[in-house]
Symmetry: C2
């Protein structure tokens, strides 16, 4: 059978303040198109469907509509687990009814030990869990970490292997040796460094969620699908898409997705950026990290740029002028300096150039006005 593997949708996630819901709706539609074109027999979603445990109403509506369309309208069997970003309890709403239409949503550790059999394959759905869940389930107070619990979990799963079937594990964890990016949650699962990949060798395929890059893990039989969209600048060079696993040939192929708006870096000078000859040749509505060549102070910079580029996520100066980092003034006598001298120091520190006479005049006039109104607060 052919099974599609996706994960880490993070519905409701914002990118530097931009609401991604329409980008997410678009990309989920692209995934459905691949599923239909490739005529897959089932779809696996390996956790982090939502970005937050309490998603917004708009996020709930998008997920509800998406899964109803995929399962009820299009008839795809769905194999879905909760991730660390999901509230297992909230996500589980409706789950007992979903089984009737081959929509298997599993949110508790104990669910992992009852395989779902579809055609030639047993699917084991192991949602994200906390060490406390393992302590309770195995009645073993020594299971303080996921690393300690996982051998027991995998062993118990393997006890349920039917020998004449393929065995696919769907799970949501950090596997040791994987490479991470900025947008996954920083807190390590169980406080340690991930589970041992050797535990996974007996599965024909392990469909992982949690890390956002499809190449984060190098194991023969296990893959992160990665997120369907770039959720941080550190993912700018990652190809985004889904895996399709063929259980007969034991092959898996990656199908790339094209987003509604790319996330890209753009290097240019301010005058180039505002020149139609420049911006009409590029996708100026992408999510943009702009690398600005200028060193000069440009009043009202962001507003001017946003007239042309509606989705700027960051502007950085390539030549040493960094808009976000301010060097802390080291002067010991800072309390004795006059407001004008302090302003001058500050300007020099962030622009690495000196005030012109005109600029000094502006500052003096401004400070004078403030002092007349009752002093600097």
């Amino acid at each position: 059978m052919k099974v599609l593997h996706t994960a880490d949708w993070h519905i409701g996630k914002k990118l530097h303040g931009y609401d991604l819901l329409s980008d997410q709706a678009y990309i989920l539609d692209q995934i459905l198109k691949i599923a239909k074109t490739e005529a897959v027999d089932a779809i696996m979603i390996a956790g982090d469907l939502y970005d937050r445990s309490v998603p917004s109403e708009d996020s709930v509506r998008l997920l509800n509509q998406t899964i109803a369309k995929w399962n009820l309208t299009e008839g795809f069997p769905l194999l879905v687990i909760s991730g660390n970003h999901d509230s297992a309890t909230r996500l589980a709403t409706g789950a007992p009814w979903f089984n009737q239409t081959n929509f298997y949503l599993r949110t508790r550790l104990e669910d992992a030990f009852v395989p779902i059999e579809l055609e030639d394959t047993q699917f084991f759905l192991l949602p994200y869990f906390e060490p406390v869940d393992a302590r309770i389930y195995f009645e073993d107070p020594d299971l303080r970490t996921i690393q300690a619990a996982m051998p027991k979990v995998i062993k118990k799963i393997q006890e349920n292997f039917a020998p004449n079937k393929n065995h696919i594990l769907i799970s949501h964890f950090f596997v040791a040796g994987s490479s991470k990016t900025e947008s996954e949650t920083k807190i390590e699962v169980g406080g340690l460094d991930g589970i041992n990949g050797d535990l996974l060798t007996d599965f024909d395929y392990v469909a992982l969620g949690h890390l956002h890059g499809k190449d984060a893990l190098k194991l023969a039989n296990a893959r992160y699908s990665g997120s369907p969209l770039k959720y941080s600048l550190s993912e700018k060079n990652q190809a985004k898409g889904v895996w399709i696993v063929d259980t007969e040939t034991q092959d898996f192929s990656f199908f790339e997705l094209t987003p509604l708006h790319e996330l890209t870096e753009l290097q240019a000078s301010f005058s180039e950026l505002l020149d139609p000859d420049f911006y009409e040749t590029i996708n100026r509505k992408d999510y943009l990290s702009i690398l600005l060549d200028d060193r000069a102070i440009i009043p009202n910079l962001m507003n001017q740029l946003r007239q042309v580029y509606p989705r700027i996520i960051q502007v950085e100066r390539t030549n040493g002028f960094e808009t976000t980092v301010v060097t802390r003034l080291q002067d010991e006598n800072i309390k004795e300096k006059s407001p004008i001298a302090l302003t001058e120091d500050f300007f020099t520190a962030v622009s690495q150039s000196n005030l012109t006479m005109q600029q000094k005049n502006w500052i003096e006039t401004g400070l004078h006005e403030i002092l007349q109104k009752g002093g600097v607060r």
Copy 2:
């Protein structure tokens, strides 16, 4: 057929800070017992399943477990609408799958016009809606209130009447002429005074939610079920329970519920209240509004009472010492009075007795200390 009518569960509601979840789990179990004993053919829940649009995880768990048990384990058909306290979008999660097991959850205005037919009866499920929903649905910008929209809604429902069936409306609104209590939301539906009861005459039964008293409305064919628990002190004398409607005999009977903890008023003196001969004769674990006969100041009053009565929701003095209401001092010369004189006036106003010499000394010492520390702020 026999149909049970309940509403206004408000799962997750707190009563004066007390978590009611275990009381709610208990009372929902009592409702199920009645449904089984009376062998009803379906259960109607007329809105406000949750107390808040974003319920807690514990609330979600309780509702999910309850409806799964009632519908999947016990096999009762469920007819459910959202109320003004529910988020229609969140509550709707899973709804497209629920129909398969005769669980009809409806959260949108347009759902009202497609009857659910069970045996001899057509059920019309009209959830709480906002005037804007009616404006969009009927493409009529003049529908500014629920009162204006409702005749159109009811007319359209009646167009779908099958003549040889009974017709039951399940809805969640304030019907004009009903009597309200404190615990319903104060904001009137649509900003006005409720819908006209005459609109409802063509239904065999109207199962209403919103008001918490079963006797709030006096119409031949319409009832509020009321909430299954007392959710405010103003409901202390209301009988709580469910209606069971017999569509053949056109009778409806009220089945009373006994809660895990009653909400009652208790009048006694402080010494009586702490006397085992007194408190061992009563249900001291009820939710209690205590009417205290004493006038004297009792240091550490609440802590002492809570040792014996764990669920006190309020203490009031019966003899003029009122803990919550403070009479506003009317003295015109209030700004010229000394702190000591003001304190004395205040004491007299709230206790209706004069300060003793000892009390005056305490106040003088206290005020002196405050003034030394830099004055009264």
